[in-house]
Amino acid sequence: MFDFLPPQAASLSPEIDFLFFGLLIISALVLGLLFTLLLLYCIKYRRGSGASRTGQEEKSWRIEIGWTAATLIAFVALFFWGADLYARLYEAPPDTLDIFVVGKQWIWKVQHPDGQAEIDALHVPVDRDIRLIMASQDVIHSFYVPAFRLKRDVVPGRYESLWFHPIRTGSFQLECSEFCGTDHARMTGEIVVMSQADYANWLATQAHGDSFAGAGEKLFRSLGCGGCHGPGSTVHAPDLAGLYGKTVALADGGFAHADDDFLRDAILLPQKRAPAGYAPVMPSFAGQLDESQILALIVYIKSLDEKPRKTP
């Protein structure tokens, strides 16, 4: 539409642009009206001009209430327009392709579910719902893709997710938009959107050993997690198979949804949301694992819940 705009590369970008231009037109009308009046009054009522000054508006409250109400109605309408679109931007649809992103000073590290890893680049297939699960190793970063009209701060200590549906192939700019230190301006990368066939090819040609879940399983063993959480263990510890997505009763009487953030806390801050019915003996692994290792563990734990369902 306009040359200066970055390409509209995700399913919702045209809608965001539409909203933006809606706002732009409204603003232009308001500004046009205001500047016309200012200019008109300044010329017509300049000192010494012959224009009649009789009949100055004395009572003002009718006019005041009029324009206040008009402004308010316009604002409420704009709010609902924005709110509807935002809700769709915010909530990911089901069945997304999940890719893991770790930000650290000053690189973006990407892990695909099958184990392919890349730095400062993200390859995704076109026409699929893609969800990024993002973590930060150190400070707050922000994952920003202008062509998708999307950004999300990557806050250390928790997972942030961002979903999009690419609608055109090509290479788009990735930027860190939250100031993160010396080389903040160099923390950029590229998003490569490929046709589904090309994406399959690309995945195949990338050298990789284990799948991401496989890497997690190795870690799980080398850290000795199975000693307590394994099937034959004598220690009373939660069974991890099928845990992901469940609602867990907590020791303080509350409930928690066993999602990525919950598992992350369970590994790093086990007492933050301790489950009910277990002694608080889980050691903290904070400081021993980096963000992508934690992600690998979580992906492995997630994969555990699929097995029982496959063999009914």
């Binding site: 919702l12 933006f20 500004l31 200012l38 300049r46 009949g55 005041e64 915010y90 999300r152």
Partner: protein, 538 residues
Amino acid sequence: MTSARRAPCKNYLTENFTLRSWFFTTDHKRIALLYFASITMFFFIGGGAAAAMRYILLHPDGAPVSAEIYNRLFTTHGIVMVWFFLVPAIPTTFGNFLLPMMIGARDVAFPKLNLLSWYLFILGGSFVLYALFVGGLDTGWTFYAPYSTMYSSGHLIAAVTGIFIAGFSSILTGLNFIITLHRLRAPGMGWYSLPIFCWSLYSTSVILIVATPVLAMTLLLLATEHLIHVGIFDPALGGDPLLFQHLFWFYSHPAVYIMILPGMGVVSEIIPCFSRKELFGYKFLCWASVSIAVIGFLVWGHHMFVAGISMYAGLMFSFLSFAVAVPSAIKVFNWTATLHKGSISFEAPMLYALGFIGLFTIGGLTGLFLATLPVDVHVTQTYFIVAHFHYIMVGGMVTAFFGALHFWWPKITGRMYPEIWARFAAVLMFCGFNLTFFPQFILGYEGMPRRYHVYAEQYQVLNVFSSGGAGVLAVAYLLPLFYLGWSLIWSRRASANPWQATGIEWQAPSPPPKDNFTHPPKVPAKPYAYVTPGADHD
């Protein structure tokens, strides 16, 4: 012109010439001048940093400096401009000088606290200048944790201490104004006889005393975490970085209104005076100021839409942010309506006021873009934000500051400024400003993040425009320094009321004597009782 011929009698400037009489003065007018000198210095320090940044941004590869230097420059620019120019600018200078005079008082309620407030400001400023001269810091003015507390290596403690101390200076000023307005109004001066400038300062002061202590506590927590590594904000130790942002923006969003409300007050004085017409919708303007101050405390979360607050919190803050724009819109409409059937002349203060309306409206309208959630997700943390708040802060507040400076220059110094030069500077400022910051809206929508000194090639053209505009703007800001300085000695003397304005500060001689009024001022029943030539007044 009797006063022009009369030999200068004793006024607050000629009362006494010793250094002691300046540095230990409790006269609100002298304190205003002490502040004026201090913030002028800070304005040019902050402006220098901005100029250096615009120079660096001419090239996409960030030459000729390293990232460290650029990061320190924008931090310097932010800290100095926000806390040592924009927040104190109008209240401590024109507020201090004019507030007691506008209500017919001899001084503010607590003159000694007023002086103490200036010393605190200078002490805080010294800490910040020390931090900058020994190497600066690179956190940005927002000090986001955990970067500021755990990772940055700059002189965080000195800078934060400086801001902490300067905060108490703000609190004392706010407290003084509130009590002064409640208690020292001249007999017969009701709330609805006050000029809008006083209402604006009252609203500003409420924000100053309510929000600033929260900043003080936040900075205290920040500094302690930095010093002894406790995890109050750092997630690695169990803290929550978003808590810092909540506390910080609880101050820093209302702080935006600290900066703009006094500007709105100034414009509300200038426009009726040069239109020779009563201010339209006076009571609506009064209460619009107060509602901005109160609703302004409900919207801070719009700085955090992409930072990880919940979707519901996002929607709530978005709605409230639209709500706070309503009173601002009311103000713009009322100023415009005041011009209708007036008798408008275009002296420099009026040019600044008209420029303010235009630039503030653009700033305000782009604020709506940012309150609209999906658009904010795209443009926040880009140059769109930078352009938006500079339209409010510089286009609005700084323009109003210069408007006030010219409008009350005769009252403060007793001299007229040179009109031609002043008009030229006003127009130059308006053009330079738009050239600098309008391209940044486009840059932002194209996706150039802020705080980047190395950027993609496609952004260069607009950046060059912006830097060019900054050059023009720099000249426009330096000009008044020369012609106003010149006017102090060589310009003609001003009469008591050169603009034929109705505010009672104009009933005092120019410059006023130490006790402000030579005889008790006549308080008009209603403010802005201008008579338009040719109108059929009852």
